[in-house]
Amino acid sequence: MGNGGNGHDDGPQIHGEGRGSQRHENESRARDENVLRARLEKLTDALAAQHREERETALDSQERETSSGAPGNVLSLAFRVMSEFVAAVLVGTALGWGIDRLAGTSPTFLIVFLLLGAAAGFWNVYRIGTEKLGAERK
């Protein structure tokens, strides 16, 4: 920004060219300074851009590692969904069977808890889904 203002100041000096050696020297020094400053600014900008880029790629790769982007993570997610669902159904069934055995009411609780287990399985899967969404929104 400051550079732009300086460039503007330069305008009248260029018009007064050829007035004297002193003037000429001053002007050329100012121009040199301006050129140097412009180069410095350009370099700073380039450095900042590079830094930003580096940080972005680092963030990107970190995100790719942690979010569901990588094939390995998709695989583990699929396996997780499956095992959570199956485990809930199994636990529900086992609970129902156990209660039936203790209370002698076979097969009432087995059926009830089988259904509850299936519902818990869906609930587990739903929770994994919302958890993933939440992580992505973060």
Binding site: T66, G72, N73, L75, S76, F79, R80, S83, E84, V86, A87, A88, L90, V91, G92, L95, F113, L116, G117, A119, A120, G121, W123, N124, R127, E131
Partner: protein, 252 residues
């Protein structure tokens, strides 16, 4: 059957006693599984002790590995958002390293995969859930039971929701242990079957020209198993973090 025995894919999971021990009538026989658990623990201890010995500013290979392991688990731990649960970090770190080392050491031929035994993964999962339950009740008192009563649910639905939540909670150790155990078991059986194919094709006269196919498959599967081994350790650690988070902050 007897001549097929060397190619039996289940054979590798057999527990063989090394030193028979029966103190106080308890069967504490030192088996090949115990041996490899010791190997795993020694491996972890070796990595950490020798890796952190020099404490160089520019880390060597071993120190780099130790630091990477620490930073990886630390970032996972922070990402899972276990707020106010830093005291559990050593537990999660040890758990992750134990599972990781068991899985990876088990991939070396002629070794025994500790995590392919459901007794081991089940014990680990029960340890996690036990800590969740005990710490949950100690930290929150009866408030821990809010875990089973989600907020914002109409009272009329509670008789259905509460059993579902309880089953869902009880299914956690099951899924945690079965997932790790099944992944390791299935992976090693697949590898063994592929290797068996190579051997039987080589002995099948003309069809020996097909032998490279399962051989290539076995190589690809070995790489894949390495991925699964690391991934399952990661999944085990991150789910432990999620469950611990429930113990610290019940009522989601």
């Amino acid at each position: 059957m007897a001549e097929e025995n060397p190619m039996d894919p289940i054979h590798q999971f057999a527990i063989k006693p090394i030193v028979s021990l029966h103190p106080f009538g308890i069967d504490a026989t030192f088996t090949n599984a115990s041996l490899f658990m010791v190997v795993v623990v020694l491996g972890i201890a070796g990595l950490m002790i020798f890796g952190t010995r020099s404490r160089a500013l520019v880390p060597g290979r071993l120190q780099s590995a130790a630091e990477m392991a620490y930073e990886f688990v630390k970032s996972t731990f922070d990402m899972a958002g276990v707020h106010g649960g830093t005291r559990f970090f050593p537990f999660v770190f040890s758990l992750f390293l134990f599972v990781l080392f068991s899985n990876v050491i088990g991939l070396i031929p002629y070794t025994f995969t500790v995590t392919s035994q459901i007794a081991v993964t089940g014990a680990l999962a029960l340890l996690v859930i036990g800590i969740v339950v005990v710490y949950g009740f100690v930290h929150n008192g009866a408030g821990f039971l809010r875990l089973f009563v989600p907020s914002g649910v109409p009272v009329a639905l509670l008789p259905f929701i509460v059993p579902i939540e309880i089953i869902s909670f009880l299914s956690r150790p099951v899924s945690l242990s079965v997932r790790l155990f099944a992944n390791m078991l299935a992976g090693h059986i697949t590898l063994k079957v592929m290797g068996g194919f190579v051997v039987s094709l080589l002995g099948a006269g003309f069809f020996a020209i097909l032998a490279p196919l399962p051989f290539v498959m076995a190589i690809v599967l070995t790489a894949f198993e390495l991925l699964v081994a690391v991934l399952q350790a990661y999944v085990f650690a991150i789910l432990t973090c999620v469950y611990l988070n429930d113990a610290i902050h019940p009522g989601h």
